[in-house]
Symmetry: none
Subunit: 213 residues, 4 copies
DNA sequence: TATGAATGAGGTTTCATTCAT
DNA sequence: GATGAATGAAACCTCATTCAT
């Protein structure tokens, strides 16, 4: 049976790419469910439906697979986030912050445990640490660009921009993370609301004052 | 008399207690430097200057040692923190928040990596998760008692107390943690200042309004 | 597809089967020579000419290997023994008993120590006990079918068939076993002859009486 | 408080002997319950209520303890059995056999597992094997003396005395053992009856013939 | 490329025995 | 004598990785 060519070119993955994808998927699933150290390469291969040998044909070792997964995960993350600055001044700032937080929260639905695993492994692995640093810098640059715009427009209350960027980044990231991982019953909407409030009050001059002026 | 092996032998005598302390110290050091999975029992024993057999006489296994270290660490933490409520209404609230953050930061100087390790291991280990939950609840109770006092005194701006407690806890904890672990050059004083500002603006009605009134 | 680890990997391919056979052979040899507790897994692997890892790929643990050896041994045993009943009434009964004993003795030449080891391990291991019970029942059923035939033909002297079955089984089994293990010089032919006499006199009505009738 | 000397001298064991007895008792209990290899010296010491150090003060090693236990057990056995020959010719022979079997069965109530353990350990331990051989010889001598008496009195049917002795010893010993260890419901009285019948019919000329004469 | 059996270093844990007190 | 903490050789078992097919 010859391959049925359809009129529209279907960009099928080559067999090889497919295999690699299967391993990535299986790795993500297992690292996520059981953690890096609790998952072994035979298991990953089996879950991917390939032989261990193939695993090692595509990935130098287990760590390399993990790093590739991290990369995929972060690319996905930045694809979501990278809302470049618009020139709007009159835009509702609270809404912007809120949207930013929401999209971060969205991200964490993809593979929240990877984030955790990553931070853990970073502390004994320089390669992973380097990747994280790189991404942190990208995130900080993004936040900074927001703050600078607001500063230019006279809305910003904070003085120490660099520190504010850090604080913003960590606070959002970790509260979202806690939200996803808390065993306790937590209401997501309420947490995001309060978080938004906190950041707005911290960053911006109070609306009331303006109005009263 | 049946053997009745408890998870951990609990020594009264001095020599024995000393050995246990040595193992605890060595474990703390190594887990901290290289992480749980990168440290093995022989190594711990050697670092403690005892035979492996002694390790297993005092701790059922590596995990049990880790849990005991966590407990020691947390007890220390609570010894620092538990500043009971005073009845003062006129006290400087910013100063109180600042002090709270500072003491938390202090704590992290003891064994910051243990905290990280802990959260990591929790995600595949129910025993460790249980301990963390317990302590989180204690911390939340403490924060809540502060907020309720401020609420009673009419200083509090937030409505959703429960969520605010969570937000407060996570935000302080994680920013301090990030502070200690950031590879980048970070100025501790500045971070703590901004963090304090953020939390005050979030929690309290603005002073200016009062003054203007 | 979940891992679904069966206790023992069941190989189809030739190389793999060969390896398993080698391990079984080495295990049989060593358990036989030195006993279960005096033999360790590294040793077995080395004797089989494979790595320890392979040992554990094929057998969950040492006990599992032992159980498989038992099974092989017993299958062999039953292949020898299962002489189904014929309808002959006039057949020499002494000759039948003699043949039965001889074939049991034959069996014990295969791996006599395994039998001993087995009984020993049974007393602390339920799995092994279960296997032994199963085989005992099979053996008892076989003996019973002989006795019932002789009873029907009017040759049987004993009344309490169930007890006789037990007595017969144990007596043959253990005397053969003792024969094989006695350090003293024992003449096999003489023991088997006396054993045959004893069982015939116990089971059957005396020929002389018949003749005199 | 000075020791209260009673009028009658109470032959109290010295403290030292008492300790040794405790270890022997604990060893017997544990070897019996869990087997030699499944019992460790610390456990025995604890069960005996003494320190491990004391264990090794009284017994060179674990095996030595086992051998001492064996000896105690066998002495007890021979104290029961050694019914010296009487000169009686008219005594009921079946009753004698029956009594012999019964007393053997009695013995097995003391520490039946020791017997099993013993045979097992013998096969890798020469010292234990030597002891067993010694006792077997004693038992055989005893049985032989019975048979010779019956032979002299014209009651014996068997010709091959040496082999008969062996057969008798093994058959009684192992059937009693099986009786004690069978997991199945077995009626002790019935087994002992049949066993007695079997041995009588094997050994003795039939009564009926005599009577009819 | 794909396969999966085979490898063996290395980690975990036990326990018979010693020895300082 | 008694104690029991300490020892460390040796057993058990896992799993990242290789390599012959």
């Amino acid at each position: 049976m010859p391959p049925k060519r359809s009129a529209t070119r279907e960009p099928r993955q080559t067999r090889s790419m497919q295999t690699k994808q299967q391993i990535l998927a299986a790795g993500t699933k297992l690292f996520t469910e059981k953690g890096f150290h609790q998952t072994n390469s035979n298991e990953i291969a089996k879950a991917a439906g390939v032989a261990v040998g193939s695993f090692y044909a595509y990935f130098k070792d287990k760590k390399t697979l993990f790093i590739e997964i991290m990369k995929v995960h972060y690319e996905e993350q930045f694809r979501f986030i990278e809302l470049p600055e618009e020139n709007l001044a009159g835009v509702d700032r609270r809404a912007m912050i809120h949207r930013l937080i929401k999209s971060l929260a969205e991200l964490h639905n993809i593979a929240p445990e990877i984030h955790q695993e990553q931070y853990y492994l970073a502390h004994t692995d320089a390669d992973i640490q380097a990747l994280i640093d790189e991404w942190d810098q990208a995130a900080h640059a993004l936040i900074l660009s927001y703050l600078q715009r607001w500063l230019a427009d006279g809305y910003l209350r904070v003085k120490d921009l660099d520190t504010a960027v850090r604080l913003f980044g960590t606070t959002v990231e970790e509260n979202i993370h806690a939200l996803k991982f808390s065993k306790a019953e937590v209401n997501e909407t309420r947490v995001i609301n309060e978080l938004t409030d906190m950041l707005c009050r911290y960053l911006f001059v109070e609306e009331k004052n303006k109005k009263s002026a």
